[in-house]
């Protein structure tokens, strides 16, 4: 966070203390949200968040800010719908404007199989509390007049789609800062430029964190790390089913008209929305090979732009302003991994792949409840790390929208 924003948000920095009840490694959305909920819901305030760079500088500030609950399996719909609800209340609760805007998400399909898939998605969503309807091409044209239903006469005509009414966006930096500010007001210490370099272990238990500013002992260590979680977990002897892939996105110059909904297509592999500045924001699939590189590439720009233009021809008149890359911790079943790790004193919230931002409120709320009560909340029980060894994966690849 720069000096300008620090002056605007009431953040209070402290010296690193030698011991905390809870040490959270990773000052992104999930780390800050966990600290915020520990302090505000459970009165646990001897909490430190360690961030090796600046808060929200990783994927929490690099994502494409979509908030939605239109997932394909009951466990995920329930979980993300809770987050959609919490996001709607977060501005009022924190007193900070986050530019939260409910826009609706249109998920387009172009094949007969896709029609069945989206009808099933709408049914599962309705059954578990998310507002999603199957829509016909005529209804789609009414929602997005700019769309070319024939997709340029190519192999991907729009045959229908699902419309997720509560789909929304919010300004990601403001979410991070508001959570940080709220946590700090209640006494949480946030330490920027403090890198966790190791974990202290005693009798099989994780009892603290080594940092480049000295050791910190902790009752519980929570990894809310994005990108380098495999290395941190290995220090505790925990193996993770994570591969870290780059994900690229770009924005155009501003489109002078209002483009209201978020539009996504799994077959054409892109999604588009309009930012508050009026820019068109586009994203697509993760890079195929895992890496930690933040480098952006021309191949992605040209292929994503080409696919997006087949459905939204007006994009052809816009220019690309900037592109960027984040690194995503992909889990094999495209669902998050939260909770106990099998090592006492060490918890993880990871596997946030390309779906982390939308889960920031609920992820923090549930992790805080787990830490405070010691029992796994129902909402995140299906997402435990041991589901892989138990052969109970939460397969939901079709809902990721980025693969």
């Amino acid at each position: 966070m720069n000096e300008f924003m620090e002056a605007k948000v009431a953040l209070e920095w402290h010296d690193l203390k030698p011991a905390y009840d809870v040490v959270i490694v990773g000052g992104g959305g999930h780390g800050l949200s966990t600290a915020y909920h520990l302090a505000t819901r459970h009165g646990i305030t001897k909490v430190a968040v360690l961030e090796r760079s600046y808060i929200g500088g990783g994927n929490s500030g690099r994502n494409t800010t979509v908030i939605r609950a239109n997932y394909g399996i009951p466990e995920a719909v329930r979980f993300y719908q809770r987050s959609v609800d919490l996001f709607e209340r977060l501005e009022e609760e924190t007193g900070r404007w986050m530019m939260h805007a409910t826009k609706g998400i249109l998920w387009l399909i172009h094949t007969e199989a896709g029609i069945r898939q989206e009808r099933a998605r709408a049914a599962v969503n309705r059954a578990f509390g998310a507002e999603t309807d199957f829509v016909t091409p005529e209804e789609i044209k009414r929602i997005v007049p700019e769309i070319d239903l024939d997709a340029g006469g190519g192999p991907y005509p729009v045959l229908g789609g699902s419309y997720h009414v509560k789909g929304a966006t919010a300004r990601h930096d403001r979410v991070n800062w508001a959570l940080a500010e709220g946590a700090m007001k209640h006494g949480v210490h946030i330490h920027q430029r403090t890198e966790a370099t190791g974990l202290q272990r005693s009798a099989g238990r994780v009892v603290g964190v080594e940092t480049d500013r000295g050791p910190v002992s902790a009752g519980v260590v929570v990894s809310a790390v994005g990108g380098h979680v495999t290395r941190l977990a290995s220090m505790a002897g925990v193996r993770l089913p994570i591969r870290t892939h780059p994900l690229q996105a770009f924005v155009t110059n501003h489109y002078a008209r209002s483009f209201h909904p978020i539009v996504a297509s799994t077959d054409l592999l892109f999604y588009a929305s309009q930012t508050a500045r009026g820019e068109m924001l586009l994203g697509a699939e993760i890079d195929r090979q895992p890496s930690y590189s933040y480098r952006s590439g021309f191949e992605f720009l040209s292929s994503c732009a080409h696919r997006a233009m087949t459905l939204l021809p007006f994009l052809a008149d816009l220019r690309i302003l900037r592109q960027w890359t984040g690194v995503c911790d992909m889990s094999p079943d495209y669902s998050p991994i939260m909770g106990y790790t099998g090592v006492d004193g060490f918890l993880v919230t990871t596997g946030w792949g390309t779906w982390g931002f939308k889960a920031i409120p609920v992820g923090g709320e549930q992790m805080a409840e787990l830490i405070a009560t010691g029992s796994v909340p129902d909402l995140i029980a299906p997402f435990a790390l041991d589901r892989f060894a138990r052969d109970r994966t939460m397969a939901d690849r079709g809902s990721a929208g980025t693969h």
């Binding site: 193996r239 993770l240 089913p241 591969r243 590189s293």
Partner: protein, 77 residues
């Protein structure tokens, strides 16, 4: 910028021609056979740094090639 692959059969070829073939290895420290199976099926080293991995040259010589890539910078070594 794209990764430059030096194929022993085709010379320098772009990323689009290749299929990522992964690199698995179960740590020797895991001894239990069931645990080794779980690790082989799901877990990853997710190496930060040089890693030796397989790539299939689908739109080229259609052969598997082993190469070393630095995952921190996404470049072939």
């Amino acid at each position: 910028m794209s990764i430059r692959f030096t194929c022993p059969h085709c010379g320098i070829r772009p990323l689009e021609e290749w299929v990522y073939g992964e690199a698995y290895s179960v740590p020797d420290s895991i001894l239990d056979p069931d645990e080794r199976d779980v690790d082989r099926a799901y877990m990853h080293n997710n190496t930060e740094g040089p890693v030796r991995e397989a790539w299939f040259h689908l739109y080229g010589c259609r052969r598997w090639v082993y190469m070393t890539r630095d995952t921190r910078i996404d470049r072939m070594l």
